[in-house]
Symmetry: C2
Subunit: 451 residues, 2 copies
């Protein structure tokens, strides 16, 4: 075979053991919380039919879906002179999962007769996007989604905030949970008598802190709002204070706007439930938060780390018609998605990974030769039998080399058994952190390692 | 959006919570054993450059690699009139991982300066093959590989057998570990003076039990062996008995065949080490076992379940030059791969999944209305705080419907709190298995659920 220079595909990554251990720490923490809150795991295939994926993520999204070439003679029945976009649809029938939401919707519709609703599921799998790779943006990355579908109960909004609270608490990341409701945004637009300009209005007012009142007003004018409409919006500019105060102000502003009032009531209810759930993290009502406005129909969540500038580290909301596009109506759902790479970066920057996970192997027996190996094997077998991750160095090489191996793997205990130990029926255990070492019988070795 | 009939890509599968829980039970068991034996996790990307993948799996393998269409204008610079095979190479530069071995080799070469050898790694990820789907054969399936690279020590052969022993012991699957060594096969061929016909000879003699001595001899003749050569092979036909006896017989047959003798000595050493490792499972020397003959250079393993006819459920061996194709010479490795779907099928057929994993959620609080929910919330918070997986039904609907939900999720304890309980400050806990129910204070509820 010809020798090939090894290379890795652009925008993808290998994970070394050190990275894997940290990533698994994040995944396991998230998973354990999800399961404690009675969410169950599902998985969907990496490849979906393009008919499932296309048209769900906008034009840009369609472009970013990795398409898989049909097997065999893919040119058969395809007019190879078509322009690339159209040709791709002829020679590819499958694509790689772009997110976990659309496959989940497909799953729910296809398995609807076997599922019990409300269906509480979580899903932690990679997704792929043909984005131009850049710092912190990869073509393959993991999403951790938790959703409940088939219930309108606002208890779930609160439960998801509590889950978020607990996940980040366990990971040691201080967060603020920002919350809003699409109905508030609709109310704001209705206030100006310009429902159709909801997105324009939110985008402009959201810049208040950055560009100031006068510039926001100018932008609203540019975006086609009349002065009369803008006047009606001015009270929104001044809303400040804690959640209760904001809700009170909105109540009076929305006195004649039913959709806005409904938003206020939903938020009040969710905040009440969150109190019952004893959510620790700061919950901040942010009445212009418009994340995922295209699909969220009720609550909107965004979670930000307090101690590092990195944008949101998770987000979600309620969507009233996730499965409609696959023919199943009236399935309201609410969910939150956690981005593993963002959380990893935050924890790395704040040095939050617990030191003990860095030493997955607890002990190594050095190799002093055939007889010594034979003498030490029963200890090795026993260590593993009682659950101590451990190993024996495979060859009789210089002790320095064996010690280097132990250090590179950050193994905290080195066990030595040469002629002297064999005669006495003991093992010398060296604590690599303190440098202390002492001779022990087998039971004592196990005690030290378990301690 | 137009309504789409939901469909799943041919040869791929969704996993429901029930299946996921069983699959995770297998994965977690395997993972915990790997880690106890000091193997560390790595992951490689799903997509590899085709230059990494192509030519490594034979012609058939190349055909079965899923190729990913280049993004953007893939027709640019491609002569679209080329035949499909050649055109695919022009319009696709990436493919989906076909196994975990080649990506591992690439990983080792690219990270060689950051790794400490011997490098003990495990990897549990899906692989993809464009096979024609059929019962038990999927286009996406998981492999669980454990390998050590950078050492010739036969201790690792024994360690891998011990790992296999422990994995299947924990899973409750009785297995036999079949072992051979390529050097034995080479010795057999040398015995006949027909080294170049090694594969022919093994294939023919391997049918001895099925087709009988006369037919094997006829087949050997057909495959071009002379009568003199066949005469020399006859003693191989009669080798029977336990491992020690087989090795003794081979020793005398291979007296003048160094490669064969080396095979015998390696096997003896590996079996000795396996004894020191206290391997429980039957280890059976099978001198014609030729699995993976194309790449294995030393030990060859194959693991079969004793109580069900399903072929091998894991296998592996030693390969002396895994990384040579990527430019790194002299890296001997040995490894075993476990097929998750086969193991799943065996455990399903033998009903080996422990019943307790079927009830991941321990308790549900029924919903009798707003006030009752408020009363019950502190219990829910407390249950979760002490680690009990639990939930509350989100809506006040008929109790029958709520009970159906509890049953569908196999939740063993149902907790009720209506007006009477609220007055008395208690909760009624119903054991769904026995039907018993009784009124308890919060602490007692927790005690029952933890018990």
């Amino acid at each position: 075979m010809a020798v090939v220079k090894p290379s890795i595909s652009k925008g993808t990554r290998d994970f070394t053991p050190q990275e894997m251990i940290r990533r698994n720490y994040i995944f396991n923490t998230i998973r354990s919380v999800f399961e404690k809150y009675a969410y169950l795991p599902i998985e969907t295939p990496s490849m979906e039919n393009l008919s499932t994926l296309m048209g769900k993520y906008g034009e840009e999204g369609d472009r970013l879906i990795f398409k898989i070439l049909n097997s065999g003679d893919f040119t058969k029945d395809a007019d190879m002179s078509l322009p690339p976009n159209q040709l791709a649809a002829k020679i590819c029938e499958k694509g790689l999962r772009y997110d976990l939401t659309v496959p989940f919707a497909r799953f729910v519709v296809m398995h609807q007769n076997d599922l019990t609703f409300p269906f509480k599921r979580y899903q932690m799998q990679p997704v792929w996007r043909a984005d131009r790779p850049q710092k912190g943006r990869y073509r393959e990355f993991y999403q951790c989604d938790v959703d409940v579908i088939g219930s309108n109960s606002l208890l779930y909004e609160a439960e998801l905030m509590k889950i978020t609270d607990e996940v980040f608490n366990k990971l040691g990341v201080n967060v603020t949970i920002h919350i809003n409701n699409r109905k508030i945004l609709m109310g704001v637009a209705a206030l100006a008598g310009a429902e159709e300009k909801m997105v324009d209005i939110c985008t402009a007012i959201d810049k208040l802190d950055k560009i100031g009142k006068e510039n926001v007003i100018a932008e609203l004018r540019e975006r086609g709002l009349t002065d009369a409409a803008i006047d009606k919006l001015l009270p929104i500019f001044d809303i400040q204070g804690d959640n209760d105060h904001v809700l009170q102000t909105l109540r009076s502003l929305f006195a004649d706007i039913p959709v806005g009032m409904q938003g206020v009531e939903e938020l009040e209810q969710v905040l009440d439930f969150a109190k019952m759930y004893a959510v620790d993290a700061d919950i901040r009502l942010e009445i212009l938060l418009a994340r995922g406005l295209n699909y969220y129909t009720g609550a909107i969540f965004e979670v930000r780390a307090n101690d590092v500038q990195i944008g949101s580290i998770s987000g979600g909301g309620r969507y009233d018609d996730l499965t409609g596009v696959f023919g199943l109506k009236n399935m309201s759902g609410v969910g939150i998605s956690y981005g593993a790479e963002r959380i990893y970066d935050v924890m790395q920057e704040l040095d939050l990974f617990p030191p003990e996970i860095a030493a997955p192997v607890k002990a190594i027996i050095l190799n002093f030769g055939e007889k010594e190996v034979e003498y030490a094997m029963p200890l090795l077998v026993k260590m593993r039998a009682v659950g101590i991750a451990s190993e024996i160095y495979p060859d009789k090489v210089k002790i320095g080399k064996q010690m280097n191996y132990a250090n590179a793997k950050a193994i905290p205990y080195v066990i030595m058994a040469g002629e002297e130990e064999m005669t006495k029926g003991v093992f010398t255990v060296k604590n690599m952190t303190t440098g202390e070492q002492r001779a022990c019988e087998i039971d004592e070795v196990l005690e030290i390692l378990r301690g």
